[in-house]
Symmetry: C2
Subunit: 120 residues, 2 copies
DNA sequence: TGACAAAGGGCAGATATCTTCCTATTCTTT
DNA sequence: AAAGAATAGGAAGATATCTGCCCTTTGTCA
């Protein structure tokens, strides 16, 4: 949907957030499938229906330098009897972009908060 | 469906037949996906709807010694950017079993041959 | 403000193998 | 012949990534 340059889409924000959360919890890398589960388990569930959507978002983030990736050693994947994974990590630019994006939309955050309060 | 010992199911016959045909045509190995296409392109199309069915049949044939398999080098698969394959080949026992099975149901064979001739 | 173009989202499917669960069929035994 | 056991088949989904097509939405420019 053609965004303003330097802006993040909700799905992209979620990916970066998840990536940083996982890093904090001691997992320095994540792969697409892992993120897909993570996002589906969170409240962001509606952001992700098809897998193609996620992998496309990962590609975009990598192209714009907010993520970097390395392929898993194929021997390890083979030993564990599954397709090999692609490991991503959030770059410094990615962290910065996330902070910027969270700062930039305080209006949306408070708009969501009001109905939330009312529900209590 | 519980078969008489030493009997082959139609799908199993097709697999062995395909394997031997491919070997004659210069492809000494085949993998599940390849056979799936081969079978779907042939008149045996109705023998194979779900992939699980095929992989189970391959397992049975291997367990009974009619097929043998080796895993593809994971590095090759990785380089070509796809999941690794499992390469099967028909054993001598497999060829023998196929011949036996084709002999055992000559009625079906001739029934198929007559329409084939008529088509010419 | 209206129109166009660019980009994102969903659906579908390719690639490859395997597992689990349930149903249907057939074989064998009594 | 009927009952029970064993097994095959189908559907679905797990595992993991990626591509192409089409539709929709939105940003930007005139």
């Amino acid at each position: 949907m053609r965004r303003k340059k330097g802006t993040l889409l909700p799905l992209e924000t979620s990916i970066l957030q998840c990536g940083i959360d996982l890093a904090v919890r001691g997992a320095p890398f994540f792969h697409g499938f892992m993120i897909a589960k993570e996002i589906r388990d969170r409240e962001d569930a509606k952001l992700l229906t098809a897998h193609g959507t996620l992998y496309k978002a990962l590609d975009r983030l990598q192209t714009s330098g907010l993520l970097e990736s390395d392929w898993e050693d194929p021997l390890v994947a083979a030993q564990e009897g599954r397709p090999r994974r692609r490991f991503y990590h959030v770059t410094a630019a990615g962290e910065a972009a996330l902070v910027r994006s969270l700062d930039a939309v305080p209006a949306q955050a408070s708009q969501r908060q009001i109905p939330g309060m009312a529900a209590l």
